[in-house]
Symmetry: C2
Amino acid sequence: MAPGIRIASTRAARATSLLRTVQFTHPPSCPCHSNPGAHGPHHHALPSARSQKRRLATPLDATRQKEYAFEMAASSIRFGPGCTAEVGMDMKNLGAKKVMVVTDGNVSKLGAMTRVIEGLEAEGVNYEIYDGVRVEPKDSSIKEAIDAAKPYQPDAFLAVGGGSVIDTAKLMNLYTCFQEADFLDFVNAPLGLGKPITKPLLPLVAVPTTAGTGSETTGTAIFDLVAKRAKTGIAHRALKPTLGICDPLNTRTMPSAVHASSGLDVLCHSLESWTAIPFNERVPRPTNPINRPAYQGANPISDIFSLQALKSTVEYLPRAVKDPDDFEAQSQMLLAATLAGVGFGNAGVHLCHGMSYPISGQNPGYKHPGYQVENALIPHGVSVAVTAPAVFKFTGASNPERHLAAAEAFGVDISNVKKESAGEILSEALADFLVKLGDQPRGLKQLGFNSGHIDMLVEGTIPQARVLMLAPSLEMQNVEAEREQLRDLFEEALEY
Amino acid sequence: MAPGIRIASTRAARATSLLRTVQFTHPPSCPCHSNPGAHGPHHHALPSARSQKRRLATPLDATRQKEYAFEMAASSIRFGPGCTAEVGMDMKNLGAKKVMVVTDGNVSKLGAMTRVIEGLEAEGVNYEIYDGVRVEPKDSSIKEAIDAAKPYQPDAFLAVGGGSVIDTAKLMNLYTCFQEADFLDFVNAPLGLGKPITKPLLPLVAVPTTAGTGSETTGTAIFDLVAKRAKTGIAHRALKPTLGICDPLNTRTMPSAVHASSGLDVLCHSLESWTAIPFNERVPRPTNPINRPAYQGANPISDIFSLQALKSTVEYLPRAVKDPDDFEAQSQMLLAATLAGVGFGNAGVHLCHGMSYPISGQNPGYKHPGYQVENALIPHGVSVAVTAPAVFKFTGASNPERHLAAAEAFGVDISNVKKESAGEILSEALADFLVKLGDQPRGLKQLGFNSGHIDMLVEGTIPQARVLMLAPSLEMQNVEAEREQLRDLFEEALEY
């Protein structure tokens, strides 16, 4: 916090500084002053407590006003080895009589599914299994799943699987409750209409079998919109599961390579939400709270989750990947994935995720070691982490304190580091972590990309406005400048 | 963690250690080994992941089994100066057409209430105001409030006030939804029947006007059960508000003395939940998840909230008390109160709160400076904090690492401190903090109690089983030993 603001003593000035200062609990610093140009000329236009009320009464202003509040929402979370057995009682307690169990062909053969079915049968709860979820879902695979749910008329959903399963179940729930809606009604703008969800959905219990997406706690569902050749999704608090059952017994079946890539997703969830622009720099302020996005920028509650998840991931992911019998590390990674889910589920992600979608979508033919799949595949976590060293070098100047705190979480001694080096220091720590984790591509080149692919990658990133708007240091007011920055970022990410 | 467990390498032993280790994320240590006798002889009887499943299938065992899972639930929280204005839109978004606004005679005259009513009227939402809430509610005052709600048949509740108002509104909601229920049905056992709440209640939005109870995030409501001369309550996740609207403009009306005592409640919420027994030492394991208490013992998610709230309170409470114009500090205290609410709302409180109820109930005639009330009154926060130096000296040995981490939050340099002194060090840091805060009684004597009152205070504490069961170091299996310990604690708390 700049001295000029700290010492301001008039009532109005103190009220003005309140909003900025409350946000930076940890560490107590304002990211904007270290790089005054980063968020444009409106930085000092934050409304005072007094003028705020007046402006709220003038909704015409809102589209140009910055946000002044944040909202934290998360699913209830149950955590404990063996607690999947309680799911039948949960369904009965929720009053469910016809449960649609959603899974995929792989997970349906695992112990997690056995435990879920035993739980339902022990309580005599009726259920039907849909195991047709596609990994990395497309709008078409989701529509198939919705069509499968409608005739059964379930009164609750139960998702057993990774992020693809849980996300698909969220949308089965949404479109079962809004039967008249067009699929694009709720899809994030600008690709869809981005309508808010105006009534509660059916209960959804999520049982994750990977430690990665955190989807069990969030109101987000991601899929490929094939006609637009873009990764997009639907995001609203009403989508979030009623309860996430996080049972470390269910992630013991993950192969080592899946541990690694899921864990890298957790790493980037925590780093991106921790470094996202502050909620009160986001524009526009919503005119109705139902339109306040779930991805609202960093805020003092998401910060607590994101930083804790980062620390846990740095400590436990290498152990979980190296030793399939290290249940403590695996269990801690499941918890970290959930914590990071609460963090990014309320703050958002930015460049690593925004750039990952064209990377996996435009894969030149890379097959990740340890994944037994027929087609070429860049696992989501790998596509996200591969640009991370370049991304955090780029964003460092927007908030050196936060980037240094993150570097410290990787074990870097930051006591004699200059602020100007914050991005570089974090970038090096990340690269070092990825190399030591093993089996990670050292840049886009090792995935088969070269400079000739960059223009297409940039064009595939531009539509990810929902996450890019949270990226610090990115020039979103000027699409040519933004293109240039993204081009540089992809270039930098070719090799680390 | 004792070396004997860390180096255990067989599958079964590692599975056994998983549960214990996952809990102590922060700091990474197991409190039980530092004081092996603290939790009795069952410490090493934690079920392994494998045997757990078998035991789950044998419910007869459950009453003697320790807990193996924890569940985290909290209201959605919106935070921002001025966001009270959104409440009319919230009610409309929730589909509410007849809102019962619950408040007390004092708050009804404040700006918070004006802003709430403006918000409702701007959206044309019908409402009726009940301003008869009694501060420190009794069962009789709650029954009056319930009787006032029933004829209006509201479809949503809106609480505007401190903990007493929000707690009363929770119970108006409960008994409006369960019209046939007897009042004692849901009251905590053993005073009531402690039945679980089996269906969702009406939407309840809580707008706190004090920074203390955290009631806007919890499923707990506290009151005096006059016939039993005891403070008790109703606690269930289903009671928690749909949304807490935390607007720092609404706490600006708190007088300095109210800031202080509310803030001391926050301090003890965070310290007690941080030092409560671990969730997996609690007995019995519930046979149905609906019976898992909200106050379940310390767990890795509540820990994050509790420690952060403690750090914020130490930093900002003295400023909020000293300078009524320090909006930054006041705002941070509102956030800390909410964070502590999530922490203790899922982990519980113990001795300070258990002992506070007879202290305020058996008040010999103390009037707290700065409170303009006709009758003698020990504010809740004062009655809680007055025993804190004695309590944490007593509990120190149960978990020296956590007590030292708490002392560090008060600014104590713990680098050369012996584990054995952990309780004493924290006790001294607390006493010092209370003295510097100003206007706090330095022990029970200054409230008018003497040794002759102690037996009655002990008898008034014993029925607080729900919180005492979470107290580390307390001999609850043997009521005579427990009485002796409480007697010593009250004796120690006479003066600090």
